[in-house]
Amino acid sequence: MIRSFRALLIRDLKLAARVGGSGVMGLIFFLMIVTLIPFALGPDLNLLSRIGPAILWIAALLATLIGLDRLFQADQEDGSLDLLRLSPAPLEIVVLAKVVAYWLVTGLPLAVAAPFLGLLVALSPEGMLAMVATLLVGTPALTFVGAVGAALTSSLRRGGLILAILVLPFMIPTLIFGVSAANAALGGTIPFATPFLILIALSLIAAVVGTVGAAAALRSGE
């Protein structure tokens, strides 16, 4: 079971590196959105630093979404999904390996890049640190929720839009607590730990529900 998990994880990481896959694209997309906002709002540093966490979080959410439709669709198209069904490990393990690989090439780089992009929206050093922490524990929730949508739309030819419509509402709680945790770190009445712990809880719940849900969707699909 561990062997299958590791083999699939390594394969997906290789593929992401090889095709110049969704990881790099997501990161560039993230950079684009965060760069565009100051142009749109004008050089008001106070305003920017106040809404900075929200901008970074929305950008991270969209960047996670952008490559998600290919998560299972690519395997569906070339028949690899049929091979994955023959695994000695349960389908849940297969889903988990794919989602972890996807997070490692999209979510993790976003969290690591957050301090540099924080400069563009005039975040304070504590703010940058808080962004890294919240993105690090919050993006897994986005990826796992998205995986259910990706599994449901895997056999649709242009599933990307439907995927976004399906999963965006379920990403709202993560967005709320991610932004409020980052804001709490910048000052305010609530302590940082309260929304941050809820964010961790959301990620853990999404990890379970997302894995089981996506596997169920793949089983029933076709």
Binding site: S4, A7, R11, K14, D78, S80, D82, L83, R85, L86
Partner: protein, 213 residues
């Protein structure tokens, strides 16, 4: 592998509320091969899909006995129309993944490619290979993990005559080692003593009232 037995009883298949075939029964025991024939659209691939667990049968039962704790899906190889190869990875990497992922490793990727005559292409990305070569890489996957039942959907398509002969020898040696094979085909596979079933469009579907087709 001794004593394994796959029995299929009165299997029926529906696609989109249309009955494609019904009443398909057969048994497979070690060293036996089953050749499934029938016209285009008769449901040959659907039968293999049901056996591989991709489709649910509309009626009937599949019994797989004496396999211990392993499920049917863990005991079979499936090579379908789509080769299940990642174009960006090399032939060797594709096989190495299948070997680690499927468990029960047998031949090393290099040896398996050698067996299908593609040793020279081991380090080429699959995207650069021709359709026939890709098919041979997919068939090499049968050799990297040891599994008793091979489900092959049109295994000879895109293969040249020399490769078809290589495939025949691979299939025969799998049977000599107690393996089972179920293959759909239009062209003869020249397997010795293979069982054959012909899948026909079920009559009830053909005379369905109001059926525009």
């Amino acid at each position: 592998m001794r004593g394994l037995r796959l029995s299929v009883n009165n299997l029926a298949c529906d696609r989109g509320e249309r009955r494609i075939f019904e009443g398909v029964s057969f048994t497979l025991q070690p060293s036996e091969a089953l050749v499934i024939t029938g016209r285009n659209g008769a449901g040959k691939s659907s039968l293999l899909d049901i056996l591989a667990g991709r489709l649910h049968p509309a009626a009937g039962a599949i019994l797989f006995s004496e396999a211990g704790e392993r499920t049917l899906a863990e005991c079979l190889h499936y090579v379908g129309h789509r080769d299940a190869l990642k174009a960006a990875l090399t032939a060797e990497e594709n096989l190495a993944f299948a070997r680690d992922f499927l468990g029960n490793p047998a031949l090393k990727p290099g040896e398996a490619l050698d067996a299908v005559g593609l040793a020279h292409a081991a380090r080429l990305p699959v995207a650069y290979l021709s359709a026939g070569q890709r098919r041979r890489v997919a068939l090499a996957r049968l050799l990297v993990a040891k599994r008793p039942l091979w489900l092959l959907d049109e295994p000879t398509s895109a293969l040249d005559t020399a490769s078809q002969e290589t495939l025949r020898l691979l299939l025969e040696s799998h049977r000599e080692n107690g393996g089972m094979i179920a293959a759909t085909t239009h062209s003869p596979l020249f397997l010795t003593d293979a069982k054959e079933i012909r899948i026909e469009r079920s009559p009830s579907a053909a005379i369905l009232p109001g059926d525009g087709a």
